[in-house]
């Protein structure tokens, strides 16, 4: 009997994918004489970089499931960074996150007023919010932050964070004052091929994890549950699939669209507060979101408008960011070139088997280009490291855009009683 991957449960299939991915990383980094691809610090960095992308993506999920395209996520993220930093400086880490949520939700409310109540085109309103948000934060900084010790018009003083947690048994965290064994660390130190690489990456995911990160990851299953298992979620989804149908059921479509977009802003705001927290920068700095709201949007598309898909997309896009951050000599990013070649090779095989010629040609061409570059050089330049995540987003979308299904009425300007 042939082993059929499609018959394996989804969670197990993803684990198999992840294990194969780690195997590729392990083999590749051997060629480049770097251990950074599977180091504990790498998965920690990936986690930190993935969280804001993931929260922006989840934000986009709530909005687009309600049928409102939210390109204003970037602006809401920006509001989140400022309000998060301001809240944390004045009231402490947890309040910072909460106030960041409030700041983002305010941006969401604005987007909802424009798109839902006034029927403005969703993209146009989103662009307007992206223009308005940095203006608001800049003004607030000029009024408030400049009076702080160490603050200026473009940055805040240091922002306090929330606590960290190391899991007992898995990574040797303390349990009521007793130091538990560090199982993953023990396996990692054994230096067994592949196994130690996997445990190394896993250890990074459970060592010194910020409580904010845990909240963010808890929001993934919570979002899935809310959207697919509750009455609220059902009504939210009908707004995005067939609002006029929902109207005939007596559902107040406007209300649910409002709620969806406000929750969307709140989640993006949390992502912004996370960026300003010590997990990433520990400071509010103008322009620090650096397009992550848009990458969150790409993660949403990559994840096919589903929470766990968004999480996977955020990790995929966050990984090169996390690697690039510490990659001063460019060797780890150089090794990633070969990883890209292998991934594109896999796409090539898939395309050939499905008889998709254009995909096969594109994958072959891009893969060959990456391979040529890999073998012709020893390191990659700085600029490549900084754009790699964006390139990956673009390439992923080139291959998978046509296989996605967005909510049917996404972007549709709904007016009550008008068909």
């Amino acid at each position: 009997m042939r082993f059929d991957l499609q018959r394996v449960p989804t969670w197990a299939r993803w684990m198999i994918y992840a294990a194969v991915g780690v195997l590729v990383l392990t083999v590749v980094q051997g060629f480049d004489d770097t251990e950074r691809l599977t180091a504990v610090s790498s998965s920690q960095a990936m986690l930190r970089w993935a969280v804001p992308i993931m929260l922006a993506g989840l934000g986009g999920l709530f909005s687009e499931r309600a049928g409102v395209v939210n390109i204003g996520l970037e602006g809401m993220l920006i509001l989140g960074t400022w309000f998060g930093a301001w809240g944390a400086i004045n009231y402490g880490g947890w309040w910072g996150l909460l106030i960041g949520v409030g700041g983002g939700a305010l941006g969401g409310l604005l987007h909802a007023i424009a798109t839902v109540s006034f029927g403005v085109d969703h993209i146009i309103s989103g662009v307007a919010i992206n223009v308005l948000a940095p203006g608001i934060t800049r003004f607030l900084s000029s009024e408030i932050l400049v009076d702080y010790d160490g603050g200026s018009i473009t940055q805040s003083p240091r922002v306090p964070g929330v606590g960290k947690f190391t899991f007992p048994f898995l990574a040797g965290g303390d349990l009521f004052g007793w130091k538990s064994p560090d199982m993953l660390g023990w396996l990692t130190r054994k230096n067994w091929f592949w196994v130690s690489d996997m445990t190394g990456l896993l250890k990074g995911l459970v060592t010194q994890v910020s409580l904010a990160t845990m909240v963010a990851f808890a929001l993934v299953p919570i979002s899935a549950w809310v959207i697919w298992r509750t009455r609220f979620g059902l009504r939210l989804r009908i707004c995005g699939e067939h609002p006029h149908g929902g109207e005939t059921q007596g559902i107040n479509i406007y209300l649910y669209k409002y709620l969806g977009v406000i929750v969307s802003g709140g989640l993006a705001g949390l992502g912004g507060a996370f960026i300003a927290s010590p997990e990433l920068s520990g400071i509010y700095l103008e322009g620090q979101t650096n397009g992550r709201g848009f990458i969150g949007l790409a993660a949403l598309i990559f994840g096919n408008w589903r929470p766990f898909g968004i999480m996977a997309g955020a990790m995929l896009f966050g990984y090169p960011f996390g690697i690039g951050l510490r990659d001063l000599d460019g060797s780890a990013s150089h090794a990633l070139l070969l990883v890209n070649t292998i991934a594109l090779g896999a796409v090539l095989v898939w395309a050939v088997r499905r008889d998709r010629r254009v995909d096969a040609f594109l994958a072959g061409f891009l893969g060959a280009a990456a391979a040529v570059w890999y073998f012709a050089s020893d390191t990659v330049p700085d600029w490549w490291i900084s754009i790699l995540p964006f390139v990956i987003v673009l390439v992923v979308l080139i291959f998978f855009s046509q296989r996605l299904r967005m909510p049917r009425a996404d972007g549709y300007i709904y007016r009550k009683g008008e068909m």
Partner: protein, 381 residues
């Protein structure tokens, strides 16, 4: 008839005017809350703008804004969102600067070469997003945003190192720039013309010659859109892509062409700075791409409307500089003002559009009633 025309004009002006009023009210409230006197702040700004030198600055700022706005507007007219003007213009800027520095030919050809290179590069880079949209189904909003990042932190960062000017970097203040363009490649300023009508422009201010190019682009945009088959197809595809396709307009070609055109205009956005400095600077002007989208939104994609919008934004940008000197208010207030103007404008346009629809429906209903009134059934009852 005449009164309905006046009413139409009134409705058309109502949206932008109310947006401005709302913006002034909101920023006045913000200023009052922050303890500044709004009247004093606005007074300072208007007084500053009445000086000839400030007006030159405003026009210099409005020129690239207008080009960026027209670039965005070309896409908007076809329901395409070219968010990538920023990346397109920076890439075009650096390539044009480099190519321009390589040759020394008669002035007309030199300047034309630089402009053609800039437009080609901008058009080609935007065309990538168009091709990806029609062949791979990649949404142009996402792809242009990604291409922005790739152009700005990738290609431009790479090219500036490749093409950096020789000589001692320390001597030039540690700044990395491209080789300067020879005098023959620099578009002269309009100061001599301006001074015929006014007085001598002081403080070394120069009115950019790109202003003429921008006006030409505006006229061409108008002619292309309203007087050519292509423009008709473009507007038709934007209004109803399915109907346009049924009418024989190739939708895929239109998307790519519109993106290329939009990018070509975007390529001109950096020319103002290029002809002024003669090279690609280490920190070129940024944010013109998104500002252009805002300009197009406020100007309703209309060639004259966008010009007004560009002038308003340029006025706010330039004249707010005085606030720092007089200390009447924080100059950042204008950023809020610009954001509020856009948001208020798009909402106001939508409201006016709905009022118009309702009136048209009412007029149609009245017309039907009139024609159906003398029917036998109606007469019998």
């Amino acid at each position: 008839m005449n009164s309905s025309f006046a009413r139409k004009a009134l409705l058309g002006a109502a949206a932008p005017v109310s947006a401005l009023v709302i913006a002034v009210v909101v920023s006045s409230i913000v200023l009052l809350i922050s303890g500044s006197n709004p009247v004093e702040a606005y007074g300072d700004m208007i007084e500053h703008a009445s000086k000839l030198e400030t007006q030159v600055d405003i026009l210099n700022r409005a020129t690239p804004l207008y080009l960026s706005g027209v670039a965005a507007a070309i896409g908007f007219r076809m329901n395409l969102f070219n968010i990538g003007v920023e990346g397109q213009f920076l890439l075009a800027f650096i390539v044009a600067a480099h190519v321009g520095s390589l040759v020394e030919i008669p002035s007309v050809f030199h300047i034309a070469l630089i402009l053609v290179v800039a437009m080609s590069v901008g058009g080609a880079y935007a065309g990538v997003a168009g091709v990806l949209k029609v062949t791979r189904g990649v949404n142009e909003v996402i792809s242009t945003i990604m291409l922005n990042a790739i152009a700005i932190s990738g290609l431009v960062a790479w090219l500036i190192i490749e093409w950096k000017a020789g000589g001692d970097i320390a001597a030039s203040g540690g700044r990395v720039t491209t080789e300067p363009i020879a005098e023959s490649g620099l578009l002269p300023s309009l100061n001599t013309w301006l001074e015929v009508f006014t007085r001598e422009v002081r403080q070394g201010k120069e009115l950019t010659g790109v202003l003429i190019i921008a006006i030409a682009v505006g006229i061409l945009y108008h002619v292309l859109l309203n007087r050519t088959v292509f423009g008709y197809d473009l507007r038709a595809s934007g209004a109803n892509p399915f109907a346009a396709q049924a009418g024989g307009v190739p939708p895929k070609q239109m998307v790519v062409l519109a993106m290329v055109l939009s990018g070509a205009v975007a390529g001109l956005v950096g020319m103002n700075e290029l002809f002024n400095t003669g090279f690609f600077p280490s920190n070129p002007i940024r944010g013109l791409g998104f500002a252009g989208i805002a300009t197009a939104l406020l100007g309703r994609n209309h060639p004259v409307g966008v010009a007004f919008a560009a002038l308003i934004f340029a006025f706010l940008d330039v004249s707010s500089g005085i606030l720092q000197i007089t200390g009447a208010a924080s100059r950042e207030i204008v950023v809020i003002m610009q954001g509020v103007i856009i948001l208020a404008a798009v909402i106001a346009y939508e409201v006016v559009y709905r009022i118009r629809l309702r009136e048209e429906a009412a007029a149609a209903a009245a017309a039907i009633r009139q024609t159906t009134a003398p029917t036998p059934e109606a007469a019998a009852t």
